[in-house]
């Protein structure tokens, strides 16, 4: 399948390039934009970005594999990130994590067969004072209880 950035997205990447004296600095933003358009990062995308930013494709790959927020395989429509670090753990994060694993019948970094949900155990998200928490795509859900989790997951379609 051929990948091409939409004209709007190409423009967004160009705007990112303008923030920096060197094009390469826009690689993280370009990867986000690509992931938004395609769902995940393919080799073809990395080659395209390399061309746009005068980089070697290997250097794009090395960025993709360093940061945890870029995916090289499709994730669920709703990607759920559960923090289990200490402050969350002290307030029941592992109960939430196990509840989700059981409910969705998937493990860390797996996707449900219908492609609707994926699950990820993550490190501190900066919500320690409103723990336990998870994020679904870009939104934080804080002060979670088992009931709230049920409600939130059931409300997604």
């Amino acid at each position: 399948m051929e990948f091409n950035f939409t004209p709007e997205n190409l423009e967004r990447i160009n705007a990112e390039i303008k923030k920096y004296p060197k094009k390469q600095s826009a690689v993280m933003a370009a990867l986000y934009i690509a992931q938004e358009q395609n769902g995940y990062i393919t080799n073809e995308i990395m080659v395209k970005i390399a061309e746009l930013l005068d980089m070697h494709p290997h250097d794009v790959l090395s960025v993709v594999t360093f940061y945890t927020m870029y995916f090289q395989k499709p994730m669920g429509k709703y990607h759920i990130q559960v923090c289990t670090n200490v402050s969350c753990m002290l307030r029941g994060a592992y109960d939430i994590w196990n509840q989700l694993k059981e409910k969705l019948k998937i493990d860390n970094l797996e996707v449900t067969p219908d492609g609707k949900f994926s699950l990820e155990e993550v490190e501190c998200m900066g919500s320690c004072g409103t723990a336990p928490m998870f994020a679904i795509n870009e939104d934080y859900y804080e002060n979670l209880t088992k009931e709230k989790v049920e409600e939130i997951i059931n409300s997604l379609n």
Binding site: Y20, E138, D139
Partner: protein, 440 residues
């Protein structure tokens, strides 16, 4: 109670409200003085960095070369990934213009024309809020080329947000610069220090979000005013984030030197069920943990905490009650540092894996007393032998937790030395360790 960074003013995040409350007057005042005067005032104010090391901000600024033909940069560190820290996001949300104004003054003082605010990728919402404030400031001619005519000056500076993508190590200042350059977030060997050789090889200063947000009030009210708040050696207020087993977790802005017990019992509402405190980490998970009986009379500032055997770090206070399983907590902390080690230095890359593996063995009931000494040995071999301070961050919690809770840990392990395991540990040297469930 004095509040410098997060005053109780409704809708302060809006430009108009910020202006009505004296906003963008400090930059005017600063521009009427010389950059060196500003650096001098910040130095005298006693402001120390809020990003972890509590280094003098004015002194750091003074390291920036005065004569250079290279561009200079300011990086504002909003990576906020230290477990237990959740304060910078409050500034993005409730007082973004004070951060912007602080950036303008800081850039003027060090001679930078470009500032990058590095914000962790997970903070989508706060990145948007911050960007909205920056856009409003640009539209009002307060940032960028337009500020020349607004303030009738030659100075101007641009502010951009750089979005991270999920890597704790990018909070380390040199890793942060590599990340902005579009590379892996690998910490750099120091020296050279950023003031000499930073972003793209140019002079660069890196400061935490909260540090920079303190600058406008210092300029407006004078360094004497700031220096008189809290502890003289570490003045001002700190945004203390309290989490874990307390009734009212949250961010509390309080003067330095406030008693730790005061923060926990009066502000954060005490411990649920009136339980006793078993353990406290006073400055984010990288700092040495304290026993519940070590906190009486301990004040929250860099010097007092050092004397008490810990460090102020990011002011993230993690509270654990008497029913907490400390072995599990420590194993979770060890897992974090193993996961976040960038892998450049062998002691950190391998050592953090060992720490996690040994702690998991203890949880599984297969540990022996020799494991406790082994944990300390491994921690000691990481500490001081690495490129960046993640080494210390991984070593300290393990070393001090095991030392300070020796009885507790001994009760969880067998008194017999398990020779089979001991031999296995010895032979781990020769094979790379895989620990289940760890993805790099």
């Amino acid at each position: 109670m004095i509040k410098i960074v997060l005053p109780d003013i409704p809708n302060l995040h809006q430009l108009e409200v910020y202006k009505q409350n004296g906003g963008y007057t400090a930059i005017k005042k600063a521009l009427s003085q010389s950059p060196d005067d500003i650096i001098d005032q910040v130095k005298r104010s006693g402001l120390r960095g809020r990003g972890g090391a509590a280094f003098s901000t004015g002194l750091k600024w003074s390291f920036m070369p005065k004569t250079t033909d290279k561009p200079k940069y300011l990086c504002v560190n909003g990576d906020e990934s230290e477990p237990g820290s959740f304060k910078d996001r409050q500034i993005f949300e409730y007082n973004p213009h004070q951060l912007i104004e602080g950036i303008l003054i800081s850039c003027y003082a060090i001679g930078a024309k470009t500032c990058y605010i590095y914000i962790r990728g997970e903070y989508h919402k706060w990145i948007k809020l911050m960007q909205n404030a920056i856009d409003d400031a640009y539209a009002a001619g307060l940032v960028g080329e337009a500020m020349k005519s607004t303030f009738n000056t030659d100075f101007y500076c641009d502010i951009y947000i750089h979005k991270g993508a999920g890597a704790y190590i990018c909070g380390e200042e040199s890793a942060l610069m590599n990340s902005i350059e579009g590379k892996r977030g690998y910490p750099r060997v120091k020296p050279p220090f950023p003031a000499q050789n930073g972003l793209w090889g140019c002079p660069t200063t890196i400061n935490n979000v909260e540090t920079i947000a303190n600058i406008p009030p210092i300029i407006n009210n004078g360094w004497e005013w700031f220096a008189s708040i809290g502890e003289p050696k570490h003045p001002g207020t700190i945004l203390f984030g309290v989490s874990g087993h307390v009734n009212k977790p949250g961010v509390y802005e309080l003067p330095t030197g406030t008693l730790l017990t005061d923060i926990i019992y009066n502000y954060a509402g005490g411990i649920p069920g009136n339980k006793k405190i078993l353990c406290i980490i006073p400055g984010g998970s990288s700092m040495p943990p304290l026993r519940g009986d070590q906190i009486e009379g301990v004040k929250m500032d860099a010097e007092s905490l050092k004397a008490a055997g810990s460090a102020i770090g990011t002011g993230g206070i993690m509270v654990m009650d008497e029913d907490t399983d400390l072995v599990k907590v420590l194993a979770r902390i060890a897992h974090f540092y193993h996961h976040e080690s960038c892998g450049q230095c062998t002691p950190c890359r391998e050592g953090t894996g060992w720490l996690e593996k040994i702690l998991k063995r203890i949880i599984a009931g297969k540990g022996s007393v020799s494991d406790l000494d082994l944990l300390i040995t491994v921690a000691n071999q990481i500490e001081g032998n690495t490129i960046c301070a993640l080494g210390e961050a991984a070593a300290w919690p393990v070393k001090y937790m095991v030392e300070r809770f020796r009885d507790y840990f001994e009760q969880r392990v067998s008194k017999e030395i398990n020779l089979e395991v001991a031999n296995k540990v010895h032979s781990m040297r020769h094979s790379s360790i895989t620990v289940e469930g760890i993805v790099h």
